[in-house]
Point group: C2
Chain length 368, copies 2
């Protein structure tokens, strides 16, 4: 297990203080750069700028952010400020709020002098739990993929074709990923796969997925987000698997913008559409998707350079396109009715209150 | 009418020969450059490279390409070579085949010495007919938009919100456009509009639409293709209108990749989805969408530069991303059942054989 790649690691400075390093995901896949994060502000900034991204990873890094904050001020005010600043970085992924609540629950009862060490330990525990959950998601998802591969055993010569969206791989979590965990498990079992990787405009996180799959030796093809319907209509997609940033009590799923278009197309062409997410992504306080806040990000993310012409004079192109009026919602809601099932660390759940509350009975009392 | 912008014009060289100029659409919206086309090869190359694009415009420019070819060889072999080379440039838009067939029908019976002048005249006639058809599409579409505006008269303070895809404006035709013609007509009538312009990856033709709307003073907002479902779910889209590259006899529509995802989302959220196209886009020899050839374009169109990082080192980024395996289908099929109606120059037609053959009875005998 220690050989599985992770997007974060801890290191000790010469003075003995712990420091967090994260893979800078705005430089990937072009450059592998470990970004040192040694303060609350550094962590909050990295989350805001999406140098650290992915719902589960945001939660884990925020937990470490609390520890870093406490190393400067472990009193109640220091803890409160850390939680407040980190909670305000990004609104949609609930894992962030979940991790901060867990840190508070652990730390508030302790006297300040015992909080710092407890914070590092609790953040470590959250990280290890995430890695374990992802491995479990991988195994439950593997069972599904094996079933789908058996269903189409009359096409044994063709790999199982899986479409995903955005990046829900190990870069987005502590290890293995959510949506990609079943693919890694299937690849390890020798199953032949071919993965359709959507660009995922405007941030192109599909290139992160392409990089992960390339490193793992899993065959993949990058396509424009627009191509999803065409590929499904052509019979070139057997299964769709995405991650989630928040799942409401009724099974509605908030995930990267464009997810619901893939879910609608999958339904139209009778292709199973799975959402892989750990329990920390469930939010029973949201009765349905309408209660989930959707982040509107800076329009500059969309102001684009035409890839074909960029080599000529990108600076000029960018100046001109910066005059364009744009809107940049970062997530959308996939209605539960379009989700074939959720793949969680506790097993496969129908996307419904009944399905989720059977696997997560402890959440029932949180229902709005 | 003479003041309406056109993406092509004729000019005489000093020797008195006619020459075609087209707006180079790979340089727009960054640069307005008129590209001279003085030979068959120049025309075919411009169509292949999408310097000239848009189903109706491709047909018209190909007709002028025949005339340019005949100026060098007006015998049967010259005509046949011109038709063959132009027909092979792009497979999906049927307007190209339609225009070439019309040119052949007119020119083959003539003796070679009379063909050149007749070719220029026939190409002019095709161009003027396209402009007239687009004006008619604009008027028929205006009636629809007025009806939708009346339906939501309880929200008089909000503009009518229209989503389009790709560019089906005057740049894609001789004048006015197809999908955008009703918008221009509505704007001229003083109707308040707000247009959602999709980027249209991988070629970003949405920026052509943004440029057209900006020039016309019609408010618009550019969004990622991925945002279509979110906007519809939020109630921010009243009507969707796209163009078409080919309409099969049963009403299935081939249009720019991504169109069917918008149609599926429109159906899910009960939003009318219209396709604007002239008769030259109808192909009754295709019984349904499965018979329409879908162009697979060069994957380099997709190998992208991250807009956020391009200013730093675009050349390096492109080199790395050129190693990515990609697929680049350029069109998809929107099933007729998802199309609320077609807006043609002869009126509004249901997307069905009955609906289309009532308006275009002359096509009935072509049915496969």
């Amino acid at each position: 297990m220690t050989s599985a790649p992770r997007p974060l690691r801890l290191d000790k400075t010469s003075s003995g203080a712990l420091r967090l390093f994260v893979l800078d995901q705005t430089r990937l896949p072009y450059e592998v750069h470990w970004l040192p994060l040694d303060s609350l502000d550094a962590v909050a900034g990295a989350i805001r700028r999406m140098q650290v991204r992915g719902a589960p990873l945001i939660g884990v890094v925020a937990a470490y952010g609390v520890a870093l904050a406490l190393s400067r001020n472990a009193r109640d005010a220091g803890l409160a400020r850390a939680v407040s600043e980190l909670a305000g970085t990004r609104p949609t992924a609930v894992n962030l709020q979940w991790a901060l609540a867990r840190m508070q629950q652990r730390l508030i009862p302790l006297p300040p002098e015992r909080r710092l060490e407890a914070a590092w330990r609790e953040a470590d525990a959250i990280a290890e739990a995430d890695a374990a959950q992802n491995r479990a998601i991988g195994q439950h998802g593997l069972t599904l993929l094996q079933a789908h591969a058996r269903e189409r055993s009359n096409q044994k010569d063709r790999p199982l074709q899986i479409m995903t969206h955005c990046n829900a791989g190990w870069l987005a979590t502590v290890e293995q990923g959510t949506a990609l965990a079943p693919l890694y498990a299937a690849h390890a079992e020798g199953m032949a796969l071919q993965v359709w990787v959507s660009e995922t405009r405007p941030r192109n996180q599909g290139l992160l997925t392409a990089w992960e799959l390339s490193e793992a030796g899993i065959p993949y093809t990058v396509v424009a987000d627009n191509a999803a319907g065409f590929l499904m209509a052509e019979g070139q997609v057997d299964v769709v698997i995405t991650g989630a940033d928040r799942v409401a009590a009724n099974g509605d799923v908030a995930n990267k913008i464009g997810t619901c278009l893939k879910a609608l197309a999958a339904r139209h062409w009778a292709i199973p559409f799975y959402v892989a997410a750990p329990g920390s992504t469930l939010d029973f306080q949201c009765a349905d998707g309408r209660a989930i806040p959707i982040e509107a990000r800076d329009g500059d993310e969309l102001r684009l350079v035409d890839g074909l012409d960029a080599a000529n004079c990108p600076q000029r192109l960018r100046q001109i396109s910066q005059t364009e009026p744009v809107a940049n919602p970062a997530f959308d809601i996939t209605p539960a009715e379009l989700v074939t099932a959720l793949i969680t660390e506790r097993g496969i759940a129908p996307a419904s209150w009944e399905g989720l509350s059977r696997l997560y009975p402890e959440l029932r009392h949180e229902s709005a």
